[in-house]
């Protein structure tokens, strides 16, 4: 296992996230949901699966397709309300980021069952949050996956907040992994700021799924260090102290200490990589600015493969 590669992916995610926040402040994109601190979970998961495995994402994993080759500017275009951000899921093995909570979890089950029916051995990983765990679709998906013994890993990023709602008002259990037993599947909680712990747990669940052992639930325990999204003001509902405490535990610095201690990296190399990643994202920001805006005709584009003519709703009056 390539710890340096894992670290570089985390650094890339951090650079993406910080650049996105900047782009939002500069008005080059609209509201943006930062994932600052959740890089270990996302990067380790991408490393734990094969390229042919698919990842089903919520808005909070909007950079995961970038780890698989989507240009950052195309990912950001989503946040400036640009349909040119839409991509082909099969090209990156990533479903588009999903806004309605947990509704993509059944998709992961269907995709996984569908691939298996066609003789494939791929695995689906579905990301969701502690808040999303309360939605009916989360339950239905986990139950369906276990009845179908579908090769799916349900990966819950428990960052202890759903907008302003703390985990204690979201669920009356200490750990969401306790739900797994109710579906007859294994469940485990790991430190979401420890990339190696996440990697180990996800890899084990993925291998079990691939071998036909059915679905699992992995809960990555962490804390939403940033606001819910750039428009959010956490001071309305939580104190700074707890956040500050968790900020100290953030995964990248901690992992770098380990790698430097193990002699795999020098402090200079650390700085250089951050510099490089940040420069690459700055350049992507410029490419975003020069992406052509969408045109009115694109409003009906791709809604249907066989469009009706004329399109109901007086299209012509608009162009």
């Amino acid at each position: 296992m390539d710890r340096l590669r894992l670290w570089k992916m985390m650094v890339q995610l951090r650079a993406y996230d910080e650049r996105a926040t900047l782009l939002q402040r500069q008005g080059r994109i609209g509201a943006y949901p930062t994932f600052w601190g959740e890089e270990a979970i996302q990067a380790a998961t991408v490393l734990a699966v094969r390229d042919t495995d698919w990842l089903f994402l919520s808005y909070r994993q909007n950079a995961v397709p970038v780890l698989r080759g989507l240009p950052p500017e195309q990912a950001w275009a989503y946040f400036r309300g640009d349909p040119h951000s839409f991509f082909d899921p099969s090209q990156f093995g990533c479903a588009p980021q999903c806004v309605p909570l947990s509704t993509h979890l059944p998709h992961a089950v269907g995709w996984a069952v569908g691939r298996r029916l066609q003789g494939g051995d791929e695995v689906a990983v579905a990301f969701f949050g502690d808040g999303a765990s309360s939605e009916g679709d989360a339950h239905e998906a986990m139950n369906l996956a276990s009845v179908f013994r579908a090769p799916v890993v349900f990966l819950c990023t428990n960052n202890q907040w759903a907008i302003s709602t703390p985990f204690s008002r979201q669920a009356a259990v200490d750990r969401l992994s306790a739900r797994a037993a109710g579906y007859g599947m294994p469940g485990v909680t790991v430190d979401g700021y420890d990339p190696l712990a996440v990697l180990g747990a996800v890899a084990e669940a993925v291998e079990r799924a691939r071998r036909g052992g059915g679905p699992s639930l992995v809960e990555a325990w962490c804390y939403r260090i940033g606001p819910h999204a750039t428009a959010d003001d956490p001071s309305l509902y939580r104190g700074e102290e707890e956040t500050a405490l968790w900020r100290q535990r953030e995964p990248i610095g901690r992992f770098e200490q380990l790698l430097v201690g193990d002699g795999l990296l020098s402090p200079q190399e650390v700085d250089a990589e951050h510099e490089r990643a940040s420069g690459a994202m700055r350049a992507a920001g410029h490419r975003l600015d020069s992406m052509p805006p969408p045109t009115g005709e694109e409003m009906t584009a791709h809604v249907l493969a066989v469009p009706p003519a004329p399109w109901p709703g007086n299209l012509l009056r608009r162009s």
Binding site: F87, S90, G114, Q118, H302
Partner: protein, 356 residues
């Protein structure tokens, strides 16, 4: 670039392409291929497509061994196995979501929602995903799924087993909504729907499942299935309807004929997109228009048809556009359903109003 579908996507198997293989009639397992009921036609269409295309899978509650509460999938699990005819747990949002995921994997799922009202729990999946996936993947991930929804009243069914939710789906952009009114249409339209690259809500008039018989025609013009059809030509008034109300309209036309009124009956078949051309052509010819359906009146299909007429053919009309529709009330307990459902007498009265 995917050569059959002319889209840019990297999928191994393209599920988004329109299927142009000929549709031939499968007469297997039909007692008499020439006169089958509507539910047998559905079964036969499913069988034919399961046999023709390994990507087709069926999903739903009790569709396997039992063959569905209406027996619309009778015999299919036995023939195709339980990996292609899949009994699901009772979770409509979940299994419609599974169908979305199966489309992503290159399959063509056909989902049975057990009754009209049990589409409501799947509403979010339908609106947010089934209807929007093609759009939000720039056309690379089409949703060639079919949702079969047995709908409507008149079967002495319990509460919430007689709803007509078709207009809800027509108001949701990104869905094609169709409904047959005869066994032959059911067969051809369902086979067409399964081959169609866009998501199709296939509304099955459950009152007609066993009440009418017809002939199965395999090779109808697939494009034509989205067009409305004049099922009885006439000159004095156009009666526009679809699905379960069509036989009632024919009954009314008989009565009107005796009264010397020649009624043209237009069966819409596709509810979204509506065949505006056919509607306007007929209305302009007869200069009178009545629309009939059993769904609630407000914001129903009748409203849309009337609005199209009011925009494009108002000055070709010699009478008001009259709707014969369900009351805006919950579908009543079944002792009252005959009073609720549009009947021939009401349609005749409506025509008289339109002729004033």
């Amino acid at each position: 670039m995917c050569s059959p579908c002319h889209r840019r996507h990297g999928r191994e198997i393209c599920s988004g392409v329109r299927d142009s293989r000929p549709m031939t009639t499968s007469s297997a397992r039909l007692d008499d291929a020439d006169t089958v009921t509507l539910v047998q036609a559905v079964d036969a269409a499913l069988e034919a497509e399961l046999a023709a295309d390994p990507r087709v899978v069926l999903l739903g509650e009790d569709i396997g061994r039992m063959g569905g509460v209406f027996r619309a999938t009778a015999g299919l699990e036995a023939r195709f196995g339980e990996t292609r005819v899949i009994d699901t747990p009772a979770c409509e949002a979940g299994f419609v979501g599974v169908a979305v995921g199966m489309c992503l994997a290159g399959l063509r799922p056909v989902v049975e929602l057990q009754f009209d009202s049990f589409s409501y729990p799947a509403f979010e999946q339908i609106v947010c995903h089934l209807a929007r996936y093609s759009w939000r993947t720039a056309g690379t991930a089409g949703m060639p799924a079919v949702l079969r929804v047995p709908y409507g009243g008149g079967t002495h069914a319990p509460e919430l087993h007689s709803d007509s939710p078709e207009a809800l789906f027509c108001h949701v952009p990104g869905l094609v909504v169709v409904t047959p009114s005869s066994p032959s249409d059911a067969y051809s339209m369902l086979r067409w729907a399964i081959r169609h690259p866009d998501p199709v809500i296939f509304m099955e008039p459950k009152r007609l499942y066993r009440s009418i018989r017809g002939t199965l025609l395999g090779d109808t013009d697939p494009e034509g299935l989205l067009r409305a059809r004049v099922i009885r030509p006439g000159t004095g008034v156009t009666i526009i309807s679809y699905g379960p109300s069509v036989p009632t309209c024919l009954e009314a036309a008989d009565v009107l004929g005796e009264q010397g009124v020649s009624a043209e009956i237009l069966d819409l078949r596709a509810l979204w997109p509506l065949d505006e051309e056919a509607i306007l052509a007929s209305v302009r010819r007869t200069r009178r228009c009545v629309v009939v359906h059993e769904a609630a009146r407000s914001c129903g299909i009748g409203a849309e048809v009337a609005a199209i007429v009011a925009q494009h053919a108002m000055f070709s009309l010699d009478g008001p556009v009259i709707r014969v529709a369900g009351l805006d009330v919950p579908f009543p307990m079944f002792m009252l359903e005959d009073l609720y459902l549009p009947n021939a007498g009401q349609i005749v009265v409506a025509v008289e109003e339109a002729l004033r």
